[in-house]
Subunit: 330 residues, 2 copies
């Protein structure tokens, strides 16, 4: 196992560099600058590059070649950044990855169009890697796009709606976050020439780890360390977001506790000085444990898929990835 | 010829109905409503459906079957409406086709997302009609998308820039308007099973008629009849738009005439009461004739392509379409 772990780290480092180069090339030397500089700005702003790495890992896991999936790897990251640019406008976010969001650095029109163009280049790159599989690969990618729009719309809808059930919440993050992770695994497995069974298995991995990833995100918002996290701990409560933790708390609470939670809904958030108070309430209601349980549930589902990967090396790689995602601090 | 003309009208009426039905189906019965109702609203708002009809005509012109191109026909209209929704935000337009624009009827976030989702459904529908040709069809469609983003970015850039040449303007409308018309012809011809030569020929038709169409649009802004046109005649001058007419006028004018035109640039537009005055200047400088000459030039190029269509019926259809586009009043 030890040597596989070292190998995995090496894989991530090396492949990340290749992906970075590909992404940079994708937007350089294009005209007009007014369109492509803002796109380049968000792409160069960094990120974990989780999605492209998943494409590459999935391609290899089914016995395919990395070089047949690099353009697709770039494509999923371009698609991801398209969603970030447009989401940041909708969320009126000033910063992302510690730098100004595109609409703050430039202006709103520029950001809308830069987002659109990132999506157009995403398809352009995806097509470079598609040959016999074009229809399947593009269908998976497009399904991911359709769902991410639906997920974002549900997310915005939930901000206004008073009552949201946990099932509705899970459906929303399935579309907003997990569908895209699932798509990365599907596209990689398709390009790697995987069997229908292998493709389905990796897609399932992606979907479940995607859900776990998002609930982990909700949990980190309250348990994270300000330095690691890079943003205000408890920010979701301040913004009145209906996260897994909040909806679970609403579900299990009664009496004055429930009343206190409903105040967050009615006032559309709380004051920063109230964060500790609500954190205490979450602890009293055992919400952090409930969230951990849910994360474990979806992670275990993902790990079941990992066991079915035939290639031993990539079985370890996918296991390590799942592990690192749920142990992350940011 | 007479009977072909009647046949063409019948073709347009019948096919337009089928396209309308397909478009309506594409967005109905989808959830969430918060995402798809705004998309449905713009699609149901009407339009000439020129682009889907071109897809169908191109498919038939090369001997293909209409039923193999209906989904693609819907796709190009969905793509077109995606550009309208986002452009209207960027242009801060209140109305389109005499009804409120999506961001005015709903809000900006809703409109951004509705636009994104129209694009996602466009790809979904295009994929329905793609089989062996998937890569080529999707590449043509994606090239159209890349170019329409570039064209819109140039258009916004020209609004701010003081000096724009006529060549730069033609490049902009090639990308913003003509590339999409060209793509419709290419996609139709591909799906209809046309030869490389036939595809190129119809693509050329689309590109040239697209340029003619846009210059005609610029001309109608000043020569149009308020009732036919449905918006303020001279609106481009009021907004200080650098249209073909305006740039031509700048190019040929001297002395006080040129100074008067530069005032439009510096003041970013004129007052409505000045429209007649500038219209007189255009007339003095022979600008309306210059625009007509340019429209004729590109229309003639398009008609050269029409002559090469082997199918006699569709040769007449394409000729009639070119004719109706340059004779249109709105």
């Amino acid at each position: 196992m030890g040597s596989y772990e070292t190998k995995f780290k090496k894989f991530l480092n090396e492949e990340r560099k290749i992906v970075e180069k590909k992404l940079s090339e994708a937007l350089k030397n294009r005209k007009p600058d007014s369109l492509y500089k803002p796109g380049y700005y968000i792409i160069e702003g960094g990120g974990k590059r989780l999605r492209p790495l998943l494409v590459l890992m999935a391609a290899k896991a089914v016995g395919g070649k990395l070089k047949k999936a690099y353009n697709a790897a770039a494509a999923v990251e371009l698609l991801h950044n398209f969603t970030l640019v447009h989401d940041d406008i909708m969320d009126n976010a000033d910063k992302r990855r510690n730098i100004l969001t595109v609409h703050k650095k430039y202006d709103m029109s520029t950001a809308i169009l830069a987002g659109d163009s990132l999506l157009s280049i995403a398809y352009e790159y995806l097509l470079k890697d598609c040959n016999g599989t074009a229809k399947k690969v593009l269908s998976a990618f497009t399904k991911g796009l359709v769902e991410v729009c639906e997920g974002q719309s549900l997310d915005k809808e939930f901000e206004i709606r008073k009552a949201v059930t946990i099932d509705e919440y899970i459906e929303m993050i399935e579309k907003k976050t997990a569908a895209m992770i699932e798509m990365c695994c599907t596209v990689g497995a398709l390009l790697g020439g995987g069997s229908a069974k292998e493709i389905k298995n990796l897609a399932d991995f992606g979907k479940n780890i995607g859900i776990a990833f998002q609930i982990q995100d909700d949990l980190l918002d309250i348990t994270g360390n300000e330095n690691d996290f890079g943003k205000l701990v408890g920010g979701d409560l301040v913004e009145g977001k209906k996260t897994f933790l909040f909806l679970k708390a609403l579900e299990v609470s009664k009496g004055t506790d429930k009343k206190k939670l409903l105040e967050v809904v009615n006032n559309k958030g709380i004051k920063p000085e109230q964060i500790q108070n609500y954190k205490d309430l979450y602890q009293k209601l055992n919400i952090l444990e409930e969230a951990e349980k849910e994360i474990r549930h979806y992670t275990n589902l993902a790990l079941k898929s990992v066991k079915k990967i035939r290639n031993e090396e990539y079985r370890v790689f996918f296991g390590s990835l799942a592990d690192s995602l749920i142990k992350r601090k940011k």
